[in-house]
């Protein structure tokens, strides 16, 4: 009986922290990263790059909408690093005492882009066409950073002479679904279920975005997403989490971000 019990305990430990033993001077070190869904591809790559320098690092990534990650952290989920797609959710994490405000850094920017499905009509060319009747649009939910940014961008359109005065209303009337993260917006456009969606340039540049057409959004109305990152106060990763954050700010890492369609943290038009 105690043997069985012991086996169950070991099984559970195995499930919570996968430990692959490897002969090394440094003992393996877990780093759990809670990161916005839009960081999916690039963090997988940068995690590998980081491990080339620090082989003891063992990454566990949790990708989801920033709002969902924040909820999980507030409900006591254990993590070493939180990377949000907007300042709002990082501010909330700081306010909840999860992260020291002094340790938060802006590490990345991103901008919105319109994507059209491969099968959509060629009459759909750019942002201006989104208010045409019958265009099926998917947006991220307003709970998701990408969704809120999209609404802000549409607000700006309404204030610009370049767009119809009720542009936002007409566009929202075409929305068929508010998705729970920016990647599912992309999926539904790629599948052709929706004609158009609003995602980040990095999503449009991703492998998953095969065949879609993209249309840039004029800088005058576009919203620049700001990605803050910070180590959790309760992190027990012994400084390795801080080193990973520092690594993300290096030129080498910033170049990888650019390659994946992001804007460098010091680059681009910096609105907010």
């Amino acid at each position: 009986m105690p043997k069985i019990f012991g086996a169950i305990v070991i099984l559970f430990l195995g499930m919570t922290s996968s430990s692959e033993p490897r002969a090394q001077e440094n003992p393996p070190q877990e780093i759990t990263v809670f990161a916005a869904a839009s960081l999916h591809d690039v963090f997988a790559r940068l995690g590998e790059d980081f491990r080339a320098k620090y082989p003891q690092a063992r990454f566990t990534f949790n990708f989801a909408g920033s709002q969902q990650l924040l909820q999980q952290l507030q409900q006591g989920a254990r993590a070493d690093i939180f990377a949000s797609a907007d300042l709002r959710h990082m501010d909330a994490a700081v306010a909840s005492g999860l992260i020291d405000s002094a340790s938060v850094q802006i590490f990345l920017r991103n901008r919105l882009v319109v994507v059209f499905s491969p099968s959509s009509s060629n009459a759909l060319r750019d942002l201006h066409d989104l208010d045409q009747p019958g265009v099926k649009i998917v947006l991220a939910d307003k709970a998701v950073p990408a969704g809120l940014y999209a609404l802000q961008m549409l607000d700006r359109c309404d204030q610009t002479a370049d767009f119809n005065p009720s542009f936002k209303t007409s566009v929202l009337a075409n929305v068929v679904s508010y998705e729970e993260n920016v990647r599912t917006v992309l999926s539904k456009v790629v599948l052709g279920e929706a004609d158009a969606g609003i995602v980040y340039t990095s999503d449009a540049a991703s492998v998953a975005a095969k065949g879609i057409r993209t249309a840039t959004i004029p800088a005058s109305v576009n919203v620049i997403a700001t990605y803050p990152i910070g180590p959790l106060k309760e992190s027990k990763s012994g400084g390795l989490a801080g080193r990973f954050v520092a690594f993300l700010l290096t030129d080498a890492a910033q170049e990888v971000f650019e390659h994946f369609g992001f804007i460098r943290r010091d680059g681009g038009d910096t609105i907010r």
Binding site: S177, Y178, E193
Partner: protein, 280 residues
């Protein structure tokens, strides 16, 4: 044997009884962890859901729309399940044909399939570029992101429960009663309508209620196939999921409502099917 002996013997419970008592205690102890694990989260949800939020959830327009959409779509799903599922159950219970075993297993598949897989499968079939969806789309019918998609997602995951339960109900009806009816001159339809159907009514009702409960909780297939649009495709489970990130209290209140409704449904099924077993 002295009288004193007799008294002490009586006072001391027999050895077997102690062992039995100890055994019962140990079994109870062994059952406790899982029972506690299953019940504590339910208690936690009810504990956190405040009464005030419960009231405001029903008043909150978006939550109210989710409740009403869930009520409408699940009722429609159940009606369709009964209309389309009854013949299937009858065929499975009464007819012999090649590949029946295979069909039986395939119909059960949606019950065990992860709902997300069901959602993707529906999208790839009935979506605008799906196998059937592209044909429909050519005629101006587009299913994804509509209430029809919500009902279809629910029908897909929930109707097999009804079919399976009713098939068992049909199989349990005494064939001699049916034969007696037809000897007395009843047509095949009359036999079915006045003998078979009444005798399996409880199984039908129990199955229908189970299907309804399953469709009420349906989430994965819905969010993938029907998307999330308040008032059109945002059912209660979707509102809870999105609400968990925006407005925890409303999400908790909606969760508590679903919990109570689900419990009542299960209790009803237990009573109905319990009687069925006794009668059968």
């Amino acid at each position: 044997m002295t009288p004193l002996d007799a008294i002490t013997r009586k006072a001391k419970p027999p050895r077997g009884a102690i062992v039995r008592l100890l055994y019962r205690f140990l079994v109870g102890l062994a059952a406790l962890p899982l029972i506690a694990f299953l019940l504590l989260p339910i208690a936690g949800l009810l504990f956190h859901a405040q009464m005030a939020a419960l009231v405001s959830a029903v008043v909150d327009p978006q939550a109210a729309r989710a409740i009403s959409l869930s009520a409408q779509t699940t009722l429609l799903t159940v009606v369709l399940t009964v209309l389309l599922g009854t013949p299937v159950a009858y065929v499975l219970a009464r007819k012999e044909f090649a590949g029946k075993g295979l069909l039986d297993a395939l119909i059960e598949l949606p019950i065990v399939l992860p709902p997300s897989v069901a959602g993707i499968a529906l999208l790839l079939t009935f979506g605008r570029r799906g196998i059937l969806g592209s044909l429909l789309s050519a005629h101006g019918v587009e299913i994804p992101f509509t209430e029809s998609a919500v009902v279809m997602a629910q029908l897909f995951v929930a109707s097999p429960l009804y079919v399976k339960t009713l098939a068992v109900g049909f199989a349990e009806v005494d064939r001699q009663l049916e034969q007696a009816a037809s000897i007395d001159g009843a047509s095949a339809w009359q036999t079915f309508r006045f003998v078979t159907l009444p005798l399996s009514a409880r199984a039908a009702l129990g199955g229908a209620i189970m299907s309804w409960a399953r469709s009420l909780g349906e989430f994965g297939a819905t969010i993938i196939f029907a998307g999330n649009f308040p008032g059109r495709t945002q059912t209660m489970p979707l509102a809870i999921y999105i609400g968990f990130e925006m407005d925890l209290q409303t999400a908790l209140a909606l969760g508590a409502i679903l919990l109570v409704v689900s419990f009542l449904v299960l209790a009803a099924v237990k009573v109905l099917l319990g009687k069925l077993l006794v009668l059968g």
